[in-house]
C-alpha cells in the first residue's frame, strides 16, 4: 500500500493560482467518475458510483493531495443509502472535498476505502454497524459499537427501537479462548482494568510479555449521542449533549464543535466579544484536559497515585473552579449558545479576571515542576523515548489529529489552519515535535498548556479593556431554527484530542436529519495496534496513555 504523503509531490492537481481549490480541475481529474456535483455548505462534493470509491480516492490522494480522510458519514434517505467521505489535506485543511457515494435501497453497498485510507477501517465499520451499508472489500467488516448479536441497524429508517434486543449469553461469556498459535496467550485487558482510561477492552495476544497483536474493542460507553441529537432541536436542545462526549473537562471545546457547525449552517454571526469569551473558555478547557492527560499518563508510567498525578489534579482543580465561576458547572458546562454564550463573565469582573491571571502566572513554575519530576527523569525517558512509535505517514493514513499528530511532527492545528473564534487575531504557536514517540506526545501536551495560557492571557487583557456598552454576548438568533432542506455541512474544531467534526444534514425541520460526530479519539485509538505490536505490555499501556483517549468520545 503506497502512502506517500502528497505534500512531497510537486504537482498537486486542483489548486488555482491564488492557492484556493479549483473544483473544476478536480472534476476534470476524476473525469467520468463524477456523476454529479453537490453543494455542501462547507465545500462542494462529487457524487460517484459505489464501485469507483477506491479509484476516486486514490486519484484524489495521490494527485490532488487529499491525504486526510477526516470522516465517513453514512445515512439513509427515503430512496437510497449514502456514504460521504469527507476529505481534507493535512497541509491545508481549508481544502475540503466531499465524496458522496449513493447506493441502492434494497442492497446498500459500496466499495471500501480501506486500501486507500486505513482510517476508513473503523469508520466504515461504524457506518455498517449503525446504518447498515456493506463495504465491499473491507478486511474486517463487523460491528464496532454494538454487540455482535445486535439485530438491525439503529440509524436506518426502518429500525424499530421498541423491539427488544436479545443479547445472548455468548456475548457475555468471558472469551478465554486459546490462540491458534502455540506459545501465545490471549488476554483481555479491560473492560475493567486500571489502565484503560474507562471502559475499553483490548483483546491482546501475548508471547511472553511481548504483544503479538492487540485489537481494541470499543462501544461499552455508546450512548447513541448521534441518534439523540437527531431527535432534538438545533436552537436549545442539542447544546447540553456535547459536554458528554469528551467529558474529561473539554466540554466547551465540544460545544464549540456543534456551535460552529450549526452557526455556519444557518449563517449566524457571533459577536466579537462572545468570540473572545469562547476562546478563553475553550483554552481553559484545553488546559484542564491536558492536565488530566498528563496526570493519568503519569499514573500509567508510575503505576500509583503518585506525586505527579496529584500535582496535575491540584493544578487542574484551579481551572475547574475558574470554569465553575464562568459557567456555573464543573463538568457539564452547557455555556455556549448558538450565536454566543449564555451569560457574560461573572461579577465582579476584576476579581474573576485576576483569578485567571493568578493561575496563568503560576503556569511556568508548574510546567517547570512537571519537567523536573517527569521529562528530565531518566527512568521516565527510558520508558517513553523511542517507544510507541507512530511515523507521520502512518499517522496520516489513520487520520490522526491533535497532540498525537503533532507529536509525530504533523503540523496540523485547525485553530490556525481553519480559523474560527478569535484565534486569528491572537499571538500563539502550534507546538509540534518530531519524536513520533510517547515522549514527544507528552512534550507537545505540556507545550500546548503554555500556548493556551498565552492565548488566555491575551483574551483577559482584551476582556478587561472591552467597553462596557459593547459587551454583546449573544447575536440575534430566531427562536426556532429551520435550516433549508437538504443543506449539508461538515465543520470541525480543534478539540483537546484533535479534530472534532460535526456533520449535519437538515431536512427543513427544527431537528437534524443526520447528525454525525467525528471523534478525534476514535481515529487516534485505531492506531494503537500500530504502536504497540511487537512491544512489551508496559509499552502498550504507555502508548495507550499517550493517546489520551476519553471513551465517552470514542463511543459517543
Amino acid at each position: 500500500m503506497s502512502s506517500t504523503p502528497a505534500s512531497s509531490q510537486k504537482n498537486i492537481v486542483g489548486i488555482s493560482k491564488n492557492g484556493t481549490l479549483d473544483y473544476t480541475k478536480l472534476e476534470k481529474l476524476l473525469g467520468p467518475l463524477v456523476l454529479q456535483k453537490e453543494d455542501h455548505v462547507n465545500a462542494p462534493a462529487f457524487v460517484i458510483r459505489p464501485d469507483s470509491v477506491e479509484e476516486a480516492l486514490t486519484l484524489l490522494r495521490d494527485e490532488a493531495g487529499f491525504d486526510h480522510l477526516s470522516c465517513v458519514t453514512a445515512q439513509e434517505y427515503e430512496d437510497r443509502f449514502e456514504s460521504i467521505y469527507h476529505l481534507r489535506k493535512y497541509d491545508s485543511p481549508q481544502h475540503e472535498l466531499g465524496i458522496v457515494v449513493p447506493s441502492p435501497k434494497n442492497n446498500p453497498w459500496n466499495q471500501s476505502a480501506c486500501s486507500v485510507f486505513r482510517t476508513a477501517d473503523w469508520h466504515e465499520r461504524e457506518a455498517y454497524d449503525l446504518v447498515g451499508i456493506n463495504y465491499e472489500g473491507h478486511p474486517d467488516l463487523r460491528r464496532i459499537l454494538l454487540p455482535d448479536t445486535w439485530q438491525g441497524h439503529p440509524l436506518s429508517l426502518d429500525y424499530d427501537q421498541n423491539k427488544p434486543q436479545l443479547i445472548t449469553l455468548q456475548e457475555h461469556e468471558n472469551p478465554l479462548r486459546d490462540t491458534d498459535e502455540e506459545n501465545t496467550m490471549f488476554i483481555n485487558i479491560g473492560p475493567h482494568h486500571p489502565a484503560t482510561h474507562g471502559v475499553l477492552h483490548l483483546k491482546t495476544v501475548l508471547d511472553g510479555e511481548h504483544v503479538v497483536s492487540v485489537d481494541p474493542d470499543i462501544g461499552y460507553l455508546h450512548r447513541c449521542e448521534e441518534q439523540m441529537a437527531q431527535g432534538l432541536n438545533y436552537r436549545y436542545q442539542i447544546m447540553p449533549y456535547p459536554d458528554r462526549w469528551d467529558y474529561a473537562s473539554a466540554g466547551l471545546l465540544n460545544e464549540w464543535a456543534y456551535a460552529r457547525a450549526a452557526e455556519d449552517l444557518v449563517n449566524i454571526e457571533v459577536p466579537e466579544y462572545a468570540e473572545i469569551i469562547r476562546t478563553m473558555g475553550a483554552e481553559l478547557c484545553r488546559i484542564c484536559a491536558h492536565f488530566l492527560a498528563v496526570g493519568t499518563f503519569a499514573l500509567d508510567i508510575y503505576g500509583d497515585f503518585t506525586a505527579i498525578f496529584m500535582y496535575a489534579m491540584r493544578d487542574r482543580e484551579i481551572v475547574q473552579s475558574i470554569l465553575e465561576d464562568l459557567t456555573g458547572q464543573r463538568m457539564m458546562f452547557n455555556y455556549f449558545r448558538l450565536g454566543g454564550v449564555v451569560w457574560d463573565l461573572p461579577e465582579p469582573r476584576d476579581e474573576f479576571l485576576s483569578k485567571i491571571q493568578k493561575f496563568l502566572d503560576k503556569i511556568p513554575a508548574g510546567i517547570q515542576e512537571y519537567s523536573e519530576l517527569m521529562t528530565t527523569n531518566e527512568i521516565f525517558q527510558l520508558r517513553c523515548v523511542g517507544t510507541g512509535i507512530l511515523p507521520p505517514d502512518v499517522a496520516r493514513q489513520y487520520g490522526v489529529t491533535g497532540p498525537v499528530a503533532r507529536g509525530s511532527g504533523i503540523d496540523y492545528d485547525l485553530r490556525r489552519d481553519d480559523p474560527y473564534g478569535y484565534y486569528e487575531n491572537l499571538d500563539w504557536n502550534v507546538v509540534t515535535n518530531d519524536g513520533c514517540d510517547i515522549y514527544s506526545r507528552f512534550l507537545v501536551r505540556l507545550g500546548e498548556v503554555e500556548q493556551s495560557a498565552k492565548i488566555i492571557g491575551q483574551c483577559i487583557s482584551l476582556l478587561e479593556s472591552w467597553p462596557e456598552e459593547d459587551r454583546i454576548i449573544q447575536a440575534n438568533v430566531p427562536r426556532t431554527i429551520k435550516p433549508p432542506a437538504d443543506a449539508e455541512i461538515y465543520r470541525a474544531v480543534e478539540a483537546a484530542k484533535g479534530e472534532l467534526g460535526i456533520y449535519i444534514r437538515s431536512d427543513g425541520t427544527q431537528q437534524p436529519a443526520r447528525f454525525k460526530i467525528r471523534s478525534p479519539c476514535f481515529s487516534n485509538l485505531s492506531t494503537l495496534s500500530e504502536m504497540a505490536t511487537g512491544g512489551l505490555v508496559p509499552d502498550l499501556i504507555a502508548a495507550l496513555g499517550s493517546l489520551d483517549i476519553v471513551l465517552g468520545e470514542v463511543d459517543r
Binding site: 499514573l299 508510575y302 503505576g303 500509583d304 506525586a307 527512568i379
Partner: protein
Amino acid sequence: MITLPLTTQTPLVDAISHLLGLDGSFGLILSAFIAAFLIGNIMLISAGIAGPWAKRKITAVFTDRIAVNRLGPLGLLIIVADAVRLLAKELIVPEGVDRPSWDIAPLILPFSALLGFAVIPMGGPLQLADPETGLVFVFAVASIASVGVVIGGYSSNNKFSMLGGLRAVAMNIAYEIPLIVTAASVVLFAGSLRLSEIVSAQAAPLIVIAGVTIPSWFAFVNPFAFVLFLIANLAEIGRNPFDIPEAPTELVAGYVTEYSSVYFVLFFLGEFLHVFLGGAIIATLFLGGPAAPISSLSFIPGFIWFLLKIWSVFLFTQWMRAAIPRVRIDQMIEIGWKGLLALSFINLILTAILVGVIA
C-alpha cells in the same frame, strides 16, 4: 553423626526464662514461645500501623493531600476500621483455582518475613536467636517469599496473576544475587556472619568531626555498598521503581488479583513485613543495628533507635513510590543482571582487597 561447630545464642529466650524463673527444657520451650510471640507482635504492630495508616499519611504528604483524618486523632483509628472492614469481607474463591496451593500462598509471605526477624538484633536482649550463620538464615527465609508469590500467581487461574508471578521470579533471581553479594562485602569487614557481631563491629568510632564521633557504620565505611544494597532491596520488596510483579496499571494487581478478604490481608501484611524486614537488614548491616548514632544519645534505648532506622527505610521506600516511575520488565532485568550484579561483584572484590591490605 556430624556435629557442626555452630553455636546459637538465644538472648531473648534466656532473658525471659531467667525473668520468669522457667528452667528445664519445658521452661525453655515455653519462654521461647513467649519470646517469639513478643518479637512477632512487635513487627505485626509495626506493619499494622504502617499498612493502613502511615502509608497513607506519608504518601499524602508527598502528594499534597491530607489523607485519613476522620477516625480518631490523626485518623489513627482507621487501623481498627480497616481491620474490621477487611476481615468482614467475603472471601471469594474463583472457579478453577488450584485449591491447596491457593490457600497456602498467602500464608507463606508473612511467615517468611516474620521468621527473618527471629535473628535480627533489636537492641538489648531483644533478639530471639543469634546463630553463627544469622545473615545466611535471614536471606534464606526472606527469599521463601518469592515461592509464595509464584504459588499464588500460578494457582489463581488468572492470566494477570500468572504474569505477575512470573515477573516476581524473574525479578527475585535478578536482584537477590546482587543483594547477597553486597551483604558479603559487609561480612568481609565484620569477619562474621553472626548478626550481633556485625552490629558490634560497627560500634568503633570512624572519625571525629568537631567533637562528634561518627561511628564506623558500614553505610559510612562503604557508602557504595550501601547504595547498591538499598536499590537491590527495593527490588527485593517490590517497590517503585521495581513494583513490577504487581504493576497495578499493567497487571491489575499481579499475583494478588484474585485474592480477597483475609487472604488479601495476609498478602498485604506479608508485603509490609517484608518492607520492614528489608529495613531491619539494612539497619543491621549498614546502620549499626540498634546503636545510637552518637554516643551522647545512647541513653535512648537501642530498640527505639532500631525502630527509627527501619521506619526511615520504610519512609525511603514510600518516597521512591511517590516520585519514581516504574521501569519496564526488560529494563529491570537488564539493570539487575548487567548493572547491579557487576557492580556488586566489583564492590566485593575491592572490599576484599581493602580488608586484606588493612589486615
